[in-house]
């Protein structure tokens, strides 16, 4: 058996809605991964510290507050600054389709909107580790096209 992936699921910023993050965390856990949940209202630096100290392979960011255009790129920048370039970042929540290209440009490899089946997130995880240079600070311009 291969070792489970370590995945941090994080709620950046002032956003008290974590049902979605918990559902995703649970789905990832049930698929055999080790999920580290940060809890609510974390700063970008706190999230990056957690990814570093827990040696996570993936980081999932959830935002329903509308501040994703500020918070997600900030997290990505800090990850790169800390040399955590190979961490694969994905996001979800209320994130309009028009906003997504800018996030993909920061190195985020998937954005999942409301209604995405959790199985799709698991497929993304499987595929993302196969893609070369899919880390947040790596060269690939690949991203997952989500159904919602």
């Amino acid at each position: 058996m291969s070792e489970p992936w370590r995945i941090v699921v994080a709620k950046p910023g002032l956003d008290g809605h974590d049902r979605g993050a918990k559902v995703v965390a649970r789905a990832l856990r049930d698929a055999g991964n080790e999920v580290i949940y940060t809890g609510l209202r974390r700063s970008a630096q706190q999230i990056v510290d957690t990814v570093r100290d827990e040696d996570a392979r993936f980081l999932g960011l959830s935002s329903l507050s509308g501040a994703h255009q500020h918070l997600f790129p900030r997290v990505c920048d800090l990850l790169k600054q800390e040399g955590l370039n190979d961490v694969i970042v994905f996001g979800g929540g209320i994130i309009p389709v028009d906003d997504r290209d800018a996030l993909f440009a920061c190195g985020i490899r998937a954005i999942f909107g409301p209604g995405t089946p959790t199985s799709e997130i698991l497929q993304f995880i499987e595929e993302a580790v196969q893609v070369e240079n899919s880390g947040v600070g790596e060269a690939s311009d690949w991203y997952w096209t989500s159904s919602a």
Partner: protein
């Protein structure tokens, strides 16, 4: 490549430290290989502990309480690493590691350089967890972390065994955890070098602490300290931190702990044997029965 993150870890780089621990956890790096680069585990000063286990039933407030203790120790200038052990699902192997949610000290910019927190899942197939935790502990000590705290849910055998690895065991209790007879039952409390009754703001905490004290006094040997704390209100935390830092071994559980450690190594031998999967497969097929499997396991455990 291995040597690269090891040498980086030696310079204090947190990411390389995290990678080293992963490599130990995943069994891609052996402890002796790591220590060859990192240097030996320092020998503790006479009577001082290097590793402390915090254990207790789910929901008694271990993580919140530990957060308070860590804050207190970090303010005194100590460098403390925490291995927070949570169970993996025996069905899927997955785990939800939620101890960070309650840890505020890792977010305190003035203190978080002195605290390292790592979540550890018990996993199912990669060998005996307690032994891995012991290896991870040694890596942390050799890298200059002065104290390593192992936080476990005192619920399963492997978690109790993790606790038994530590130099000192602290059991966290809460009020309203049953009547006096519960304190008399055999179990985790027998291993304790100290007991903290948390949630002291709730009714029944004093009474419960008294019951535990009484129970200890009926036993032989020195009585472990029993202190009241309220992680919620921060009462009793600094006092508890001081008591724990100078905590002597109660000497009550030395034999029980050696037993746990021996069992852990025995279990590791079985779990890491290449024959294990094969035997399980044959059992599932029905080509051997349990007695045969046991004798086969016995055969290689003695090798």
């Amino acid at each position: 490549m291995t040597a690269e993150f090891l040498t980086e870890a030696k310079t204090g780089d947190r990411r390389s430290l995290a990678r080293t621990l992963s490599a130990i956890e995943n069994r891609t790096l052996r402890l002796d290989e790591a220590l060859a680069v990192l240097g030996p585990v320092p020998i503790p000063e006479d009577g001082n502990w290097q590793t402390l286990a915090i254990t207790g039933a789910p929901g008694v407030g271990k993580s919140c309480l530990l957060d308070g203790l860590l804050t207190s120790w970090a303010k005194q200038g100590l460098r403390v690493a925490v291995l927070a052990v949570d169970p993996s699902s025996p069905r899927t192997g997955g785990a939800l590691l939620g101890d960070r949610v309650r840890m505020t000290v890792v977010d305190d910019k003035a203190l978080n350089q002195q605290i390292y927190l790592r979540s550890v899942a018990t996993r199912k197939a990669s060998g005996s967890v307690p032994v891995i935790v012991e290896d991870m502990t040694k890596v942390l000590l050799s890298l200059g972390w002065e104290k390593v705290v192992i936080e476990t849910v005192g619920a399963g055998q492997s978690e109790v065994r993790c606790a038994a690895l530590a130099d000192r065991i602290v059991v966290v209790e809460g009020p309203a955890r049953g009547d006096g007879i519960q304190a008399e039952k055999a179990g985790l409390l027998e291993l304790a070098d100290a007991v903290l009754v948390n949630k002291s703001d709730l009714p029944g905490a004093e009474l419960h602490a008294d019951e535990i004290r009484e129970s200890f006094e009926l036993g032989i040997g020195s009585t472990p300290p029993v202190a009241l704390t309220s992680a919620l209100h921060g009462t009793g935390i600094d006092e508890a931190a001081t008591v724990l830092l100078a905590l002597p071994s109660s000497g009550r559980s030395v034999r029980a702990r050696w037993r746990e450690r021996l069992l852990a190594f025995h279990e590791r031998k079985i779990l890491e044997s290449p024959k294990l999967d094969d035997l399980l497969h044959q059992l599932a097929k029905g080509s051997i029965d349990l007695d045969e499997a046991i004798s086969l396991i016995g055969a290689f455990a003695d090798e």
